[in-house]
Symmetry: C2
Subunit: 413 residues, 2 copies
């Protein structure tokens, strides 16, 4: 793995930092602590910036929106100069009505006071159970402690504190080589159930020291989300709380301007980072034992390619077959068949990695043992060529295991 101290080769556009996070970026501090919303595990995260940040974000399309999400969405629309993001796990503060809304405002205000900034400089976010009031005393007490705990290397603690049923904390950072020097992008995120395009119970907080104006920050994150977070699905459920936020503090003094080569490189790195996060979320889906990448090629349109990718990623029958390492391609072509996309089933090719399972005219003649071996890996590619046009896409999901049921039949308790 590449170390933060290693200089970036001029020919390399971007490189990941080992165990990087939001605090790998100059000027950002973070912490993650236990405040009492969960029994034992960390449940409160704070990311702060030494200087004011421009920020942009994308939010759930669910009609039911959590209180903190409504507040942060509104803030990003009408304000700027952000200094912090406060995130709790253990309680979603969704479907809690006016009371819940006021709880969210209270935590935001308390955090701002404690940090000595304006309330509208603090973004807030929650994840956890829907429909229960938060224990305000725990959070207030937690803010009291966490505000003094943020450090230059607290990003991993923060990543841990935003987890719900995630098994692994998810944190990344990437150094980007631009013409005028190097900038860094850092991130933490969480997934696990209710993962479905157009946001899910999925939170991602991204930091950078690039100097980017507010309008451009929004464009950059919106573009990167399209080919990453919007193409993962764990269970087809879209949550009430999901958000992706990008904060730029400008500390590098390297300004990004749309239409320049530097801008394109930064966008590429940001999208790559978002894809890395998306894959980490899909691969750590509730009960997941395998990460499944679905490459759809030669669809008649982008829309059709996405319909097929989404249908395959959402099919419990495909996902259970992969769980059982069963090369049941009939379920894959059937999912494509009901996706609504236009194609001739007799022209389809399906491969697991490079291993052909189905050729045109329904020719299927493969070694079951070899197929089973491929499907026993932790990462599997389903490559489906529709042979109908020129549009391609990639989606990600995980297999469906008995553990998914166990986790979700008892989540609240």
């Amino acid at each position: 793995m590449w170390q933060e101290t290693v200089l970036v080769n001029e020919n390399i556009k971007f490189k990941y930092i080992e165990n990087g996070s939001v605090t790998s970026v100059n000027g950002f501090k973070a912490a993650g602590i236990h405040c009492g919303l969960k029994k034992k595990r960390k449940d409160l995260a704070l990311i702060t910036s030494d200087t004011e940040c421009n920020a942009g974000g994308t939010f759930t399309l669910n009609k039911v929106k959590a209180a903190p999400l409504l507040i942060s969405q509104e803030l990003l629309k009408n304000h700027n100069k952000f200094k912090a993001v406060l995130v709790n796990s253990g309680n979603a503060n969704a479907c809690t009505g006016q009371d819940g809304y006021e709880d969210a405002l209270a935590t935001q205000k308390y955090c701002a006071n404690k940090l000595g900034v304006e309330a509208n400089q603090v973004l807030i976010s929650s994840t956890g159970v829907i429909g229960q009031r938060m224990n305000l005393a725990s959070i207030i007490n937690g803010i009291e402690n966490i505000a003094d705990s943020v450090t230059d290397d607290g990003g991993i603690d923060a990543a841990e504190a935003i987890m719900t049923t995630d098994l692994r904390n998810k944190n990344f950072a990437v150094k980007v080589n631009l013409s005028k020097g190097q900038v860094t992008i850092g991130a933490i995120c969480k997934g696990s159930g209710m993962i479905m395009p157009n946001m899910a119970t999925m939170l991602a907080f991204v930091t950078t020291d690039a100097d980017i104006d507010k309008h451009t920050v929004q464009n950059l994150i919106s573009t990167s989300v399209l080919d990453s977070f919007n193409k993962i699905s764990v269970d087809g459920d879209t949550s009430t709380n999901d958000m992706v936020i990008l904060m730029a503090n400008g500390k590098s003094a390297i300004t990004l301007v749309e239409g320049t080569n530097d801008y394109d490189i930064f966008q590429e790195a940001l999208t790559d980072l978002c894809k890395k996060m998306s894959k980490s979320i899909a691969g750590d889906g509730e009960g997941a034992t395998k990460l499944i990448t679905v490459n759809v090629t030669n669809a008649t349109s982008d829309e059709d390619a996405n319909k097929v990718g989404k249908a395959i990623c959402n099919s419990p029958l495909v996902k259970t077959a992969i769980n059982g390492s069963d090369a049941n391609w009939g379920r894959i072509i059937s999912a494509a068949g009901y996706s609504g996309a236009e194609f001739d089933p007799a022209k389809v090719t399906i491969k697991f990695n490079d291993f052909t399972i189905l050729s045109p005219n329904y020719k299927s003649d493969f070694c079951e043992t070899e197929a089973k071996e491929i499907l026993s890996n932790d990462e599997i590619e389903i490559n489906i060529d529709l042979n109908a046009g020129t549009s391609d896409t990639t989606w990600w999901t995980c297999d469906f295991s008995e553990q998914y049921i166990q986790i979700n039949a008892s989540y609240r308790s």
Copy 2:
């Protein structure tokens, strides 16, 4: 339970026959045998009619269509005077190309010869694994045996022979009181995974002795399917093989004419029968431990009501919560929220049976123990009032259990 011999009370429009089936209808015979497509269990069913039948049907919307389905769909479009339906389980004969198509034609032809009728008087249907050629010798040998085995009470054997992962055979019959006398409608069906609106791996064969012209038979079955089979979902997967067929042999000499009171009564009975079948399929979904009825009321349109019903029935998170008897209403309102329907979440009421879980303005104050008790029943109603309009609908699904994964991770083997 009501016995076949009991006269129907004049005030009662229709009544079910205990353990009725397709052969409860005068003039129909059936049988179900083991021919060797499955290891041990029955896998070949034949329903025959003494006289020629008018028939209508509905078929899967999956772009990938099984060979026998293509043949039967075409037959129903262009022919009439049907004498038999031959159905095998254990092999879907889907994605088998031209070879599979010829296999299907061969079985149809062999069956017709054996019965002494024209090939285009025999409808055919298959269910089972996709993408494998059928063992033609087994089926041909099976036809040789089954053609001589059909009896007046063989409907239940036939119901058994069309099962795949179904745990219970599904057979029903209903006596209908019309102004000129009584007619009977009988049926067998199977479900179990890949159950989703617009047909699924779901076969239903319905017989009646009413005298109905071809055009009217089609209208009757199409109408009844809309509020029954098109409103169940087990796993959101739509199969390649699904069909519902209604055959009318006219033996009662009671003619049904559209626009008459008798017609309406018959339609009502047929829809009720189709709902009974739908519920039996949902309640016997793969790994199901509970039948869930979702009543959506006061949506802004029928379309919106259906969006909400479908989203709730397809949500793995709702279905796992019910499996665990967990009154997690947050997942229900969240599913409604991402369904795409228009409504104000703050105005929603949710009940389990008559027990209120959520009132407007997110008021939720109920006894968890009592809720758990209700959710521990075999049959549960989720009643969601959107308070947004006047459209209502009812959908059916089952809970999602660890057994679903077990069954589907190893289905082919």
